[in-house]
């Protein structure tokens, strides 16, 4: 045991080991099991030279569930992508490949997302890594950079190593929760908040007699045109602050 210090000095910890240490350390600040994704996101941001990180899962082809973000700005960036329905994270998930995007590329590939990004956040570069287990891709790890930091400072191999650690933590946690209605971390606060969007979809389904896809598209279009985040619009729709007729009006105008 006494040799340990000198050994560490000779062979520094790998990125995966540093990540494990950061996750373990954050357990005291964020003890709840449902906060595991947030701990993972914070640990990602801590061990990689990035300004923020966010973890989200995908299901039912186009639904996206944010699980945890390292900070508010990372959470906002995820919600912007979800609102406009495009962005590096969605592309990374769809293609199964990492996306390393500098500001100019974000501007040309995802213009609607880019407008929102520069208006509402200081984030300019994004790295998005698919979270993949042996059977399929199930989510993405987004890494956000604020100038003067940029993507060139991040070694992709380090980022991939961290993404693979995230996958193994989730799969270990998933095994432990086998008999429940899904793993405990599905109750993450960010996921609970997103659940209001599904609620609002139902509200619009019934109120305007339209399909789920149309309901989501309508909510997205209205949020975008009003400069709102979809998650916030959902709250306003459900509290009837924004009458359905107004959403319907958007639809009539658009068609």
């Amino acid at each position: 045991m006494t040799q340990r210090g000198s050994q560490d000095a000779e062979s520094p910890m790998t990125i995966a080991e540093r990540f494990a240490v950061a996750v373990a350390r954050s357990a005291s600040d964020l003890p709840g099991v449902e906060l595991l994704p947030e701990r993972l996101a914070r640990a990602c941001a801590e061990v990689l030279p990035v300004d923020g990180a966010g973890i989200s899962l995908f299901f039912a082809s186009d639904r996206r569930l944010p699980l945890g973000a390292s900070d508010d700005q990372a959470a906002v960036t995820e919600r912007l992508q979800f609102t406009v329905g495009e962005g590096p994270c969605l592309t990374a998930h769809a293609s199964g490949r990492p996306v390393v995007a500098q500001e100019a590329e974000i501007g040309s590939r995802w213009p609607a997302f880019y407008d929102e990004l520069v208006t509402r956040t200081a984030v300019r570069d994004i790295i998005s890594l698919p979270l993949v287990d042996e059977t399929r891709g199930f989510g993405a790890l987004d890494l956000y950079l604020v100038p003067p930091n940029d993507v060139r400072a991040v070694a992709l191999s380090d980022a991939l190593a961290v993404a693979s650690e995230v996958v193994s933590v989730f799969s270990r946690a998933g095994r432990a929760d086998r008999d429940r209605e899904g793993p405990a971390w599905l109750d993450a606060p960010a996921a609970e908040r997103r659940s209001l969007v599904w609620q609002a979809m139902g509200f619009v389904n019934a109120g305007l007699e339209i399909s789920s896809d149309d309901a989501l598209a309508l909510l997205r279009a209205h949020a975008y045109s009003e400069g709102l985040q979809l998650d916030d619009l959902a709250v306003q729709v459900l509290s009837r602050e924004i009458p359905l007729e107004r959403l319907g009006f958007d639809r009539d105008q658009a068609s």
Binding site: L57, F59, A60, R63, L65, D133, E134, T135, R136, F138, S171, G174, R175, R178, E181, G182, P183, L186, S195, L196, W198, Q199, A200, M201, G202, F203, V204, N205, A206, G207, E209, S211, S212, L238, L244
Partner: protein
């Protein structure tokens, strides 16, 4: 067995059999199919084998997961019925158990009588360690006494060790896939319940809590799962004919 086509060439090397196992692609095959392939390959590869089978002991309950014929199945099951026998000892004890001549076998006399009656005078049971908590064994039954020579013993041991790796990987794959499906179902279930709540909030002019209470009450009344009620509500409203109440 003259100059056979390559395809008919009998397997002579465990590596050929391993290559066969490797050809089974995860995702397009099942654990059952893999275990069946292992039994088939063992029969093909190891000379003297009349019938082969794979025993799995899950939660202390032994069962034959795959076999090449009725002889192996009968003899496996007679051991399960007796609660002892070479195939159980090999699987649990993780050591090879061989009967060289069932007529003179003294370790499991009652089982040996059955083996003689069923026409198998020798057998070889090789452990097939699958994972913690699941014992497995590969059983090879021969008609004649001394059906297995040193080559066959060696071959069966090597083949079983490769097969164990394939089974272990398959098990990991299946458990990851089950977990993935479990997660996906959980996310979809949660979303559909939320969507149904939204529908009820709109239709009944109630809040989210009241909407959930309506779902829970409907679930109680009809003795159906809440998620199924929610699914029916969402499907009802989003049906293309616009029929909804």
């Amino acid at each position: 067995m003259t100059t056979a086509q390559p395809a008919d060439r009998p397997l002579s090397d465990p590596r050929d059999a391993v290559a066969e196992l490797a050809r089974l692609v995860f995702g397009t095959t099942t654990m059952d199919a893999m275990l069946q392939r292992i039994a088939d390959l063992a029969k093909e590869l190891i000379s003297g084998v009349e019938d082969a089978s794979v025993t799995l002991i899950v939660n202390d309950k032994p069962g034959t997961a795959a076999c090449t014929g009725g002889l192996a199945l009968d003899l496996d099951e007679s051991q399960y019925g007796l609660g002892h026998g070479p195939c159980l000892e090999a699987a649990v004890g993780e050591e090879i158990r061989e009967i060289t001549d069932a007529r003179e076998e003294t370790r499991w006399p009652d089982y040996a009588r059955t083996a003689v009656e069923r026409g198998s005078l020798s057998s070889l049971s090789v452990p097939l360690p699958v994972r913690e908590g699941i014992h497995g064994g590969l059983n090879l039954y021969a008609v004649e006494a001394d059906g297995f020579d040193d080559d066959a013993r060696h071959m069966s041991r090597v083949f079983a060790s490769y097969a164990a790796v394939a089974v272990h990987n398959m098990h990991l794959y299946e458990s990851t896939r089950d977990q993935a499906e479990h997660l996906d179902t959980a996310m979809k279930t949660r979303a559909v319940i939320e969507q149904a709540k939204g529908i009820l909030m709109s239709q009944r002019r109630c809040d989210a809590e009241e909407a959930f209470a309506l779902l829970a009450a409907a679930s109680q009344r009809s003795n159906r799962k809440l998620r199924d009620i929610a699914r029916a509500i969402v499907d009802g409203v989003t049906a293309s004919d616009g029929q909804w109440k």
